[in-house]
């Protein structure tokens, strides 16, 4: 087994251990013997049973797939746009989801359980469609990111305008929703995210050689027979579906898509195959542990997960900038 395979294998083991370890953390007082008996299905304590099976396990599993999904989406975008700063959130996905969540909060306040994720998903998808449309009109796919930033500001301003005239508490709800959290998730959310994730991974792995060709430049890729624009659009669509679904259930969890692929490039490699598998594994480990911090570091409350990922992400981002300065 070569060095990369050994590392990937070790990471996969670490993912499994992280899932098991994360189940032991939480504010409810459950000792290890209770935990084990509940996991094997011979739970004596009904409360422990509900906490483990209906709260902790769905949470850890959603952290697993959401971490994988966000990291993969970032990795795909960075490789297909050849821009190390590409992140699904730069395409206005969070602003779009925020707009959707705002409209749901203002107009459908009684049915938020279904309306909120659905509206957030539609909002996120709407933002991506506008971004792609603008880039198409401009005839320059490489300007996707700039178009994304502009659309992001536009949607955020519409959100703020609606909130200003809406019910005052809706502002709180939307702002806190955008900070992200895995507290609300349930098992059905895991199934939805996991199925989109599987489709995304299979598609990307099937096309990994074409994506690698893109890394050489658009002309070189075209000369190798790759339909550059079509491939880029397909990849963008996959990233959008993946991120929009995750944002719809978990709110805004920023920077995972940006930072994880950079760590993977240092540890595993830059080509698409290695990058995608590595990002999935490290993304999962990262989000599982960030969520453990979110739910167990304060004695009487939770910290919204987006705050922790963004704080760590921004420090990491500055670190990359510093390193690239040192290299030149």
């Amino acid at each position: 087994m070569n060095k990369v395979s050994t590392r990937l294998f070790a990471l996969a083991i670490l993912v499994i251990l992280s899932v098991l370890a994360a189940i032991t953390f939480g504010p409810a007082d459950i000792d290890s013997s209770q935990l084990i008996s509940c996991l094997v299905g011979s739970c004596q304590n009904q409360i422990a049973d509900i906490v483990i099976w209906q709260v902790r396990i769905p949470r850890v599993l959603v952290a697993l797939v959401a971490g994988m999904g966000l990291a993969i989406a970032g990795a795909i975008l960075q490789n297909t746009t050849r821009n190390p700063l590409a992140d699904p959130y730069l395409f206005g996905i969070v602003s779009g989801a925020g707009l959707g969540a705002t409209i749901a909060n203002i107009s459908l306040a009684d049915n938020l359980t279904i309306a909120l994720p659905l509206a957030a998903f539609l909002g996120a998808l709407f933002s991506v469609i506008i971004v792609v449309f603008i880039a198409k009109v401009l005839q320059r796919m490489e300007q996707l990111l700039l178009a994304g930033v502009a659309v992001s500001f536009m949607l955020a301003s519409i959100t703020q305008f609606i909130l200003y005239f809406g019910e005052p508490f809706a502002t709180n709800r939307v702002i806190f929703w955008l900070m992200g959290s895995l507290a609300r998730v349930e098992m059905s959310n895991f199934y939805v995210i996991a199925s989109i994730l599987v489709i995304a991974i299979i598609t990307v792995l099937a096309l990994h050689r074409q994506i690698d060709a893109l890394l050489l430049g658009d002309e070189s890729a075209a000369s190798l027979g790759v339909d550059v624009d079509k491939l880029r659009l397909l990849m963008l669509g996959i990233c959008a579906a993946l991120t929009a679904t995750i944002v719809a259930y978990c709110g805004g969890i920023g920077f995972v898509g940006l930072m994880i692929p950079h760590i993977v490039r240092q540890l595993i490699g830059v080509t698409t195959l290695k990058l995608i598998i590595g990002s999935a594994l490290i993304g999962a480990i990262f989000l599982i542990w960030v969520d453990v911090i979110a739910r167990s570091s304060l004695p009487h409350a939770e910290i919204p997960i987006g705050i922790i990922t963004s704080a760590l992400g921004s420090i990491f981002f500055l670190f990359i900038m510093y390193r690239s300065r040192a290299n030149t």
Partner: protein, 290 residues
């Protein structure tokens, strides 16, 4: 006799831990155990005599003094679902607009019995007090405090209903300068104390405005509620605008924001005090004009 029973209660309480007390209460279903998810709900429950049944609450539930000892299970951003499941309350009383709706939906899905509090007016406070009293097994006490509250409210309304209106500006926040309009909680205070709010008809309940909009309204009174917890609140600097009659006559009131803005029985005392202070301004203005 009262003293003996009080000493006995204290003795029992000191020898029984909070958790054991909860278990005892849980066995008595006419007095359900409660998780109260907002400071005003906790306060109302203590008012009807159900304070001891509260087994969990959120941050900032600091009144009455005993409420500070209730275990915390989250804040207005997020609840700790695991802790709620662990405590197994018979009843959860939530604040519809102030609690995270997704957490509440999840708790409902897990089979918890949730009822909602959503007071918009003084009348709502009385009806919620009655409702909570009935559910928690304190109907008589609830009826007593609610009736007392309603009678006091009617009395205050009657006292001021025939007074002449004076134009007043309510400074909810200074930066950005924010006031209140119809549909907001403080607007009720202005209505009852006979203060004409020049911004009452604005579409949003808490509009941001500029000093330029305040100037032509020639307000005779400025109400600047201050919170006890905020040691140094940055209030708007009205001294620079002596063209405003209220500033020229030094008619700037600073009531207690905490008592006014929390939707409980205590808000009536705040109403009474505010109306009395406003009435002093009214007399001052009448003397000045006569």
């Amino acid at each position: 006799m009262k003293l003996i029973s009080l000493l006995f209660t204290l003795l029992v309480l000191s020898s029984t831990s909070y958790a054991e007390l909860n278990k005892e209460l849980a066995s008595d279903k006419s007095k359900p155990t409660i998780i109260a998810l907002a400071p005003h709900i906790v306060e109302m429950l203590y008012d009807v005599g159900a304070g001891e049944q509260i087994i969990g609450t959120t941050s900032f539930a600091d009144y009455p003094e005993q409420a500070k000892k209730i275990p915390r299970i989250g804040n207005y951003v997020r609840l700790q679902l695991e802790r709620v499941i662990e405590l197994q309350p018979d009843l959860i009383i939530a604040w519809k607009s102030g609690n995270p709706s997704d957490d509440l939906a999840r708790l409902e899905q897990l089979g918890f019995n949730i009822i909602y509090s959503q007071p918009h007016s003084f009348e709502d406070i009385a009806s919620e007090v009655r409702r909570f009293a009935k559910i928690t097994g304190h109907t008589a006490q609830g009826e007593k405090v609610a009736t007392k509250f309603e009678q006091a409210l009617v009395k205050i309304k009657q006292q001021y209903q025939d007074k002449t209106e004076i134009t007043g500006f309510y400074e909810l926040w200074s930066r950005p300068l924010t006031t209140v309009a119809k549909g907001s909680w403080p607007q009720q205070f202005l209505n009852i104390c006979k203060v004409k709010n020049p911004f009452k008809q604005v579409l949003t309940p808490y509009p941001q405005i500029s000093i330029e909009q305040v100037l032509p309204a020639s307000v005779e009174l400025i109400i600047q509620p201050l919170s006890v917890n905020q040691k140094e609140r940055e209030a708007f600097n009205w001294e620079d605008w002596s063209i405003i009659p209220a500033v020229a006559n030094n008619q700037i009131l600073q009531p207690n924001a905490d008592a006014m803005h929390r939707m409980t029985l205590r808000s009536l005392t705040a109403l009474k005090d505010l109306c009395a202070e406003i009435d002093q301004t009214r007399s001052f203005l009448q003397q000045k004009h006569s």
